[in-house]
Every structure is written in structure tokens, then in C-alpha cells.
Symmetry: C2
């Protein structure tokens, strides 16, 4: 089966043509400054048509189009349910109508993290597993669940996709979701500068001279011996691992796949989470595997064919 | 449909005869000192036979027997998967063989909290809802989930039933489950004495003269103005509410049903959790209802017929 695939993120859209588990071609579209989802779709449509043409394909070769979107999505009705400060017009847009008009193709839209999990389960780190949690450590924290071979969606399509918004500190920081002490509010890319600045001794830390403190700096300065960086690094590792335990207790997976930009330091993160989970998660049946995501930024594109093929009730 | 029903708890077994959503008769059996599940089953068997006889029924009137057990249970294979310091021989027992030999009836066994949720959903506070989380606040904290009309079970039967073991304080207290900072480790009946004693000023508190501090004392002394009691009461309320938000984010319910002995103070607990959830949970579709459990200690018995009738794949 061939599909058009789009992964719409905060700053880029990844557009591609896929055949089963193979990406035939793909192109990243810069969305900086585009706050309107209709404008995004117009640009994405142009790029997809171009890719089809360049690859000597015809639109009739494709069975459908899959869209990943960074927000709450109900794939059963093909709508975005809620956004989080980006593309706030998306809930009003009829994506299926757009696909019909622009390509004459059926469309499935899904939360981007769920689509990435479908990809990793179809042809990546979770191949062969039906019970999977995927965590994404980056600007935000993602946490999505597949149970017995099916994405968990629930009544209003928001079950099994808010794993970064499980509170890990009941009296912690305010989160962009409106909650308090979410894993994302305590240990994500956007939260990091605030967390670092709150540590006593910050003015003397080597981090205090960095304009936009990211995890790359944090790990580097910690390794150079900066005390504040070490404290925050260890706290983040602890919170990611505790979030993993929460998701194991909630969803009973065989494997946790971890992706996202922060996993450039998988050398430190994976063994830490593995050891923590082994020690503190209650899994009398055996050991949850911890695996690094394999498909990086293309996981959602690889999820296109399973999403389109899925029987949704 | 008529069924035999047993709810095996830590100190008592509640044995009953049920017809659909009606309890025909029931009797509580004291299990103090009984640490062996085979001894429990022998006593439970006698009591059930007695009840059948006293109620002028015949065993052939009954379609099956439902058992609730306080531990991890895989109802698909009819086995206890893991216990938590009570009836540790239960994983070796073939409950179905026992029911066949003792009554000539088919048996279904399920985690007691899941069975109580089935009861509340069949004929209690969650009647008419397919998407339900039930929290139990007592000696431990229970949290079980039903999604789209089905109990969530997962690969190893431990999805959707460990809601008290979601960490709410990433660097908190050790839990009996082996985890750290679980809601149960921070705000359950067994954790309460330790939490109270750790508050500065405890030696001057009116609680310091009480031998086994329970939630009844906590609420009473807080209302009498004891500062330590007020601090711990407010912390517990906060943690229960945060656990509710975690379970909403994990399972997407329409309603949260709250039961357990601590809900004798539902006058304080329900409005607190309702207000917190409304303010801090991310539910763009609307408002999660907070309801007090209606069936008290008989919820699991009322769950017998739905459990026996359920098609388990």
C-alpha cells in the first residue's frame, strides 16, 4: 500500500511518500511564522503534489493520506479536538474534506505521538510488540500507549496520549496543559530554564552565562563538573524514570520506546531508566524492556500505512 | 441470572447470593489469622453452601461463581498473578478447579477493585457510563479503569488497576508495591501515621497522643484546630485530587466514582476533588463528574453477574 504522509510539528512539517514500511521520499517544510493550519495545509498540499510528480508517481497510486498533528486528535471523526498554543484554528478545520478536495483521497488524522508509536510498532523499535508505551523527551514530553495491538484512545480520544501530563510532583510547577507538577512541567525542554534558575547557586553556575539553556548544555556542563547542572540533570533523569514507572503501572506494556531530541544522550538516559524501572516498577510477570526509538523524525511517516489500514470502530 | 459471589479482603470475606443487580443474602466471614487462601476457600465454601440452603435455593439455580481478590488477577486465565503480603499461596491455586469440585459451577476471579467497579457501573454510581475510573480511599488506594464499556486489563492483566500506585511525589516515600512516592505511599491509611509523625511540631500535636492514627482522627483534630492535622489533611486532599487528575489524563473517563472508608468524610473530599479536577485536569470535551460510590462494601458482590456474563477474549 502507498500513502501520502504528513507530520505537522510546531516549527516544521515533514511531508513524504511511503510504501508500506518504506519512505520513498520526504521533505521538511519550514513553518516558522505560520500560525494558521489552513495556510499549513495549503503549503503541505503543494509539497506533496511536487513529491508525487518528482517521484514519477500518480495520485491514483496512493490509497490515502495520513496526518500527524501535535494536539489532541479524534481519528474516529477526523478532527483535532484541542490544541496547545499552536494552530488554534485546527479544531474548526475539516481535514477529510481538504484531502478529498486537494487529492481525491481518504484521510486519517491522529495525534503525532500516537502516529509515531504506530511507526515504531510497525517497523521500528517496537516491531512485534502489541503492548507498547512510547515516551518522547524533547521540548515537551510525550507518552502514548498501545494495548493488545491497538492504540488506546478512550471516550474523548484523550486516553493513552497524555503520558507527559501525569503529575510527578503533586505541589510542583504549573504546566502549559493547565495542570500542576506534570512530568513535562518539571523536566521538559521548555521547563528546563526555569528549573535550572530555581536551583540555589545558579548565579555561580556555568549555565548562568548561557542564553537558552537546553539539555545539550545541561549534560555537557554536568560532565564538566558544574554542581547545579549535575543536580538538575539527576533530577530530570529521576523524573523521566518515575514517569516511565507511572506509564508501566497505568498501561502494562512489554516495552517502552524512548525517542525525542534529548535521547542524543541515550548513553546516559537509557541505562538510568532501565535500572530505575527494574528496581521500582511492580511487574511480577517479568521485565519491561527499555528501547531507544529507531525511526527518529520519520516515525510518524512510517506510521501512515498502519493508520490508514486500521479498522477504527 | 443468579450467581454466588465472594469478595475476599484482608480481614473479611463477604459471601453472597445475587440475582442480577440484587443481593439476595450475604454474610461476612472473619478471616483474622487466616493467611492461607486454601483455608479461606474452604470456609467460604461452607458459608456459601449454608446461604444457598438457608435461602431455599439449589446450587443448580446458579449460573456461576464470581470471586473478588485483593491482588493482581488475570481473569482470562482464572489465576491470581501477584499478592501484596496476604494469601501468598494464591498464585498456586486453581480457583476454577476449586469451584468445579466444590459447586459444579464455572468461576470467574477478578481483582476486587475491578469487580467493585463492575458493580458500580452495573447498578451503582456509574450506571449508564462506559468510561469510568473508580478510586478507593482506605487502608490502601485503589484506582481502576473501564474504557468504552470494558475493564482495561492489558497484556499481563495489570493495566487499569494500579491507580493508587501512580507516583505523585517523584522523590517520596517507599511504597509496599516496591515503588517510590506512589499516591498510596503518601496518602493512604497505612501511610498516614508515618506522614503525620514527619511533620514538624508533631510532638505538640493532639495527634501525638493517639495510638493508631486514622483518617477519622485526622479530620476531627483538623476541625478542632490542630495545625499538624490540618497540614496533613490538606496534603492528603491535594494528593487524592492529583491522583484523580493523573487517572483522568491516563484513561479519559466521563465519571470518577470514589469509595472506601475515608469517604465517610465525602462532605469534604468530594467538593475538594471536584474543584481541583475542574481547575487542573485537561479535558477540552467538558467536565468529569465526581460521584461517591453507592454500593459501599457490596459493590463487588453486585459486580458478580456482569463479570460472569462478560465475554473475555
Amino acid at each position: 500500500m502507498k500513502a501520502l504522509a504528513v507530520d505537522i510539528g510546531g516549527t516544521h512539517a515533514n511531508c513524504g511518500l511511503v510504501e508500506n514500511d518504506r519512505i520513498l521520499t520526504h521533505e521538511s517544510v519550514d513553518l516558522t511564522g505560520t500560525m494558521n493550519i489552513r495556510a499549513v495545509l495549503s503549503r503541505v498540499g503543494d509539497v506533496l503534489r511536487q513529491l508525487v510528480h518528482q517521484h514519477s508517481q500518480s495520485l491514483t497510486d496512493f490509497q490515502g493520506i495520513a496526518v500527524g498533528f501535535a494536539g489532541l486528535v479524534d481519528s474516529r471523526i477526523g478532527r483535532v479536538v484541542s490544541t496547545n498554543k499552536k494552530y488554534d484554528d485546527a479544531p474548526e478545520v475539516d481535514f477529510c474534506a481538504w484531502a478529498r478536495d486537494a487529492f481525491g483521497l481518504p484521510l486519517r488524522i491522529e495525534n503525532d505521538a500516537r502516529l509515531a508509536l504506530l511507526g515504531e510498532s510497525y517497523a521500528g523499535a517496537a516491531r512485534g510488540f502489541g503492548d507498547v508505551v512510547m515516551m518522547t523527551l524533547g521540548t515537551g514530553i510525550g507518552g502514548v500507549a498501545m494495548i493488545e495491538g491497538k492504540l488506546l484512545r478512550g471516550k474523548h480520544a484523550q486516553a493513552g496520549c497524555l503520558g507527559g501530563h501525569i503529575p510527578v510532583l503533586f505541589n510542583g510547577r504549573a504546566c502549559t496543559c493547565g495542570g500542576i507538577g506534570c512530568a513535562e512541567a518539571e523536566a521538559s525542554g521548555w521547563a528546563l530554564p526555569g528549573v535550572v534558575r530555581s536551583v540555589p547557586g545558579f548565579p555561580e553556575s556555568s549555565l548562568s552565562s548561557i542564553a537558552n539553556i537546553g539539555f545539550k548544555h545541561l549534560f555537557e556542563e554536568a560532565e564538566r563538573g558544574d554542581r547545579v547542572a549535575q543536580i538538575v540533570r539527576d533530577r530530570c533523569l529521576n523524573i523521566w524514570a518515575v514517569d516511565a514507572v507511572a506509564l508501566i503501572h497505568a498501561y502494562d506494556p512489554e516495552v517502552i520506546v524512548i525517542g525525542g531530541g534529548v535521547m542524543e544522550r541515550a548513553d546516559i538516559i537509557s541505562p538510568y531508566i532501565e535500572a530505575y524501572v527494574q528496581k521500582y516498577a511492580w511487574t511480577p510477570w517479568g521485565k519491561v524492556q527499555i528501547r531507544r526509538a529507531e525511526l527518529a523524525n520519520n516515525a510518524a511517516l512510517v506510521g501512515a500505512v498502519p493508520l490508514i489500514s486500521e479498522r477504527i470502530s
